[in-house]
Amino acid sequence: MSAKKIVRVAGAQGFWGDWLEAPRRQAEGGPVDYLMLDYLAEVTMSILQKQKERDPNAGYARDFVGAMESVLGGVADRGIKVIANAGGVNPEACAAAVLEMAKARGAAGKLRVGVVTGDNLLPRIDELLAAGHELKNMDTGEPLSVVRDRVIAANAYIGSVPIVEALTKGANVVITGRSTDTALTMAPLRYEFGWKADDWNTLAAGIIAGHIIECGAQASGGNCLYEWRSIENLADVGYPIVEGNADGSFVVTKHPNTGGRVSVQTVTEQLVYEMGDPHAYITPDVVADFTSIRLEADGPNRVRVFGIRGKPATDKLKVSIAYRSGYKAVGSLVYAWPDALEKAQLADRVLRERLDRLGLKFEQVLSEFVGANATHGPLAGPDAGKHAPEVQYRIGVRDADKKKVERFSREIVPLVLNGPPSVTGFAGGRPKTEEIVAYWPALIDKTVVQTKVTVLQ
């Protein structure tokens, strides 16, 4: 070890669906110690739970197996370690698929896969409710009993402790279920630097490092509004890398000879993304204070982050619960110049009148005119879209009754021949009726959730 140890954690996926090239580019573009892959958004667990119901070997982010294949050389031969919450609701099956892939590629025995379980509370819900854990909705205050019979997934957000445990047990790949996005970055820093459970400032720094790289290129020039025209070579965008120090300070950078940009502004935009109360960013390990963060340019495509303070963690864990909540369908048609918006508005009136005559009332009906008001509503001004060369008419409905939603979906395409003129863009035909899986955030006592770590080879 050199006098000043630096640990490099590279963000390689920001969500399930992110750029398939990113993991390989992060592993091969320059020195890294860890690859961090975040796959889980709020509703992802419920999608995975549905897949597992159909196939007991499914229920994890399948993209991860391909990602592991693309970085196998780096992990098997160059000592790069991988931390991912790709396990979804079936981390064991995810680990088995990764090990099978490694075996097929002649790397049997090179991977030691740490599997973190214990976050899945679905089998325990009735036991927990009976024991007095109400699992109230954090937003509305309603008790879970209101939707209990429609719950299809329930997972506690777990922190860095079991990931550190897996690394300590020698894992070079760690697969979790519903761990927090930020723990995937903080855990390897904590493991490497030996941060203690009450080192609040360094733990908070690790969490903020995680927040910066958890959305992939959103910290390195992607989706960046500041001087966006001058951000070079997004086609070749470099994903963000944290170079962590023992004292909690770190540098955000990207590999040389990649596109995009790392600057105080690109990092700041990511810091404020999905922010709540900046004084209290609550995680299982620590409460981080975003008002303590200091940023400073440290050469081209390098930003130094320091001064971060944290406060003791709470005694609760957040729980992500998914429940069935009715159906929706959204359809659209495109109207062309002249008077595109007026034609689209007439189509909306005609369609709504037909729905009325059919006696169809919905819990929610929403009409938007893309090209006029879909993104900024009335803020776009009274003349918005008036002279647009085309306007997309987009209408959606939501209801508990699937039949009503299906009936609605048949009323859109007929407008092509029996509504206002200059209409096109209906190639998709009838919109499909989708079941809605809604999100129920809750809290639970930490002591209730016991994680388990197994290392497989």
Binding site: T268, E269, Y273, E274, F290, H376, G381
Partner: protein
């Protein structure tokens, strides 16, 4: 002097349930103070009247030259329930940048803030 936020700040927005957050960041360090002074909770609530159904929370992050706004009831139920094109509040950022605030002439001129022009 009328000043449009688009000319003095940048922004990013996201969602948590039915709440959209907008982080508003001063383009120049010296513009943070007037932004913090004149982009009040009331001004933002009035701007989004008729667009959101709930209230507005406001936080200051002088260390990042930023304000954070929480716009409640912004997303038609939020997440998978929402029928909106922008179900995840991704472009409330630029919607906030449409806001025009009134800054005393002397203060705006001393800080070389650009006056709002007619918007296209």
């Amino acid at each position: 002097m009328k000043v449009r936020l688009l000319d003095i700040a940048h922004a990013r927005s996201g969602d948590k349930g039915d709440t959209a957050n907008v982080g508003l960041i001063a383009l120049k360090p010296e513009w943070y103070a007037p932004i913090a002074k004149y982009v009040t909770r009331d001004a933002v609530a009035a701007h989004f009247k008729g667009v959101i159904t709930g209230g507005v929370d406001r936080y200051e992050l002088p260390n990042l030259l930023a304000l954070n706004f929480l716009l409640h009831g912004a997303l038609d139920g939020g997440g998978t329930l929402s029928l909106k094109t922008d179900a995840q509040g991704k472009v409330f950022s630029t919607a906030l940048l449409r806001l025009v605030v009134d800054i005393p002439d002397a203060e705006a001129k001393a800080l070389a803030m650009p006056p709002a022009t007619e918007m296209q």
